[in-house]
Amino acid sequence: MLGIDFNKISELLLFDIKDPLLFGSSLFFFLFFGLLLIYRLFAKSNNGRISILIFFSLFVYYKASGIFLLLLILNAIANFGFGKGMGEAKTQAGKRVYLILSLLFNLGLLAYFKYNNFFLQALNDFNFANLELLDILMPLGISFYTFKSLSYILDIYLEMMEPTDSFRDYFLFVSFFPNILSGPIDRAAKFLPQIRKEYFLSNKDIAMALMLIMMGLVKKIMIADYISLNFVDRVFDEPVRFTGVENLLAVYGYALQLYCDFSGYSDIAIGIGLLLGFKLMENFNYPFKAKSISDFWKRWHISLSSWLLDYVFRPLQIGLRDWRKAGNITALIITFVLVGFWHEASWAFLFWGLLHGIFMAFGLLVQGPKRKFYLKYKLNNSKIFGAFQIFITFNLVAFSFIFFKANNFESALDVLKQIVFFFKPGVFIQFVESFTPTFILIFFGFFFHFLPSSFSDKMVTLISKMNIIIQAIILTLIIWLVSQVQSADLQPFIYFQF
């Protein structure tokens, strides 16, 4: 009677590998709005509220990964069990048994799904064997939820937290839909206590959530998707067809694209979490304002860098402390190679990680003389020198991202060759004329990034003082504005592939 096509609706809701429920899609906003309404109805019932959240999380994961939902459930059951066993173990040796079991289980599954073919290919390439590659599909978000689960186990082992008695709570921690597919990689110690808290949103929370969701949409759809489809991808697909200046702009553009894509996703995830009453971990803090590579890693993908700092770098560093500086450098190189390897099992990503390890190691080696030099010439408080440090750090980071983006080493080297040997600065004017919207978006993207961070705080305070109707109008306007520049299809988030 109403002309509802139930087949079409079920198609929309069923697993489709090519159509996960992307933040920013109209279907997502429609379903999330429905979830919020029901969720608020159950605001007083903790059990009801959390059950709804778990159900919705299961749906989001099923929609993106189908049968792999069972793997997620298995992961939650196993790690809950390991945590409980570790908590009940009377001796350190007993705790260690559960730690080893958990590491074998979690890293074993990750290795099977994510790294198997890389190692088989490496064995073939080095002529150690002639093995056939496996036809394996990687479950979405496995790198993220594996690391979340491992942090729970490791924190219990390090006596930073007690294991939870509630499987319901633990399951929500692992499957929480805002951060299941691409993080932030939250810590159980911070997340679990929030489940039992009363659901209450202050005006400031709502304003903050709206601001994050709006900023996330603008970053992802207006900036990242637009510059990627209209400029960056074209250059990186065939760098030799473009001049050096265009290649350089594509490298800068890609740094901005990657930041807007991933931090846009994180902003939306954190904003959505906040509307559901959960404060998720901060993931980005104006990374291109960093004055050194170590500063950059305190601001970029914070939930991953702090994870590796706590569970990889620190144990290695303490274990190798007798080697003094050499111990620190070894720990840094291993940690950053793992950063690369975490992203993707490929030589280009390993090299990207190694590059950052080398940058960090170099920073450590010159730390002493640098400190004396800065003191002697009073450079610590110099704004001009600060800008110079930001410029150098940004260029090192953008350089490293060439290996992150390029399909292979040859293509990365082509980009560099064009920049060095075929720069043609005069082409810049032509670029601005023929890629005007791209140029404007890149310019404004960086401009907003370099505004003082107090600007964002002021916006949140301003929104929090507004009437709810005005807030809704602003949100609608932003969604409309974003839809005007949206490419035909919403582009998948870059970090979904990791």
């Binding site: 930073m160 170590s294 274990g319």
Partner: protein, 79 residues
């Protein structure tokens, strides 16, 4: 209670003036100027050298503030 000896070792390693730095049981490494993840190991080595003790890796990793580090030192010294 943080001993003067421990405070002196930390300040000497970080080139800090002991009078200008407040360190108590609850103080975390990140709250002390210059005590970052890179020179954390140097401070641990300096403590081990000064007290003539040896920590296990896991014992150090479990310390989440200076108070816990002081307790660990006390337990090693009294053995």
């Amino acid at each position: 209670m943080i001993s003067e000896r421990l405070k002196n070792i930390i300040c000497k390693e970080l080139l800090l003036d002991t009078k200008s730095v407040e360190i108590n049981d609850e103080t975390q490494a990140t709250e002390v100027p210059g005590w970052d993840s890179l020179n954390h190991a140097n401070i641990i080595v300096a403590i081990e050298k000064d007290y003539g003790i040896r920590f296990k890796g896991l014992e150090v990793l479990k310390c989440n503030n200076v108070g816990a580090l002081q307790n660990l030192i006390d337990s090693k010294v009294s053995k």
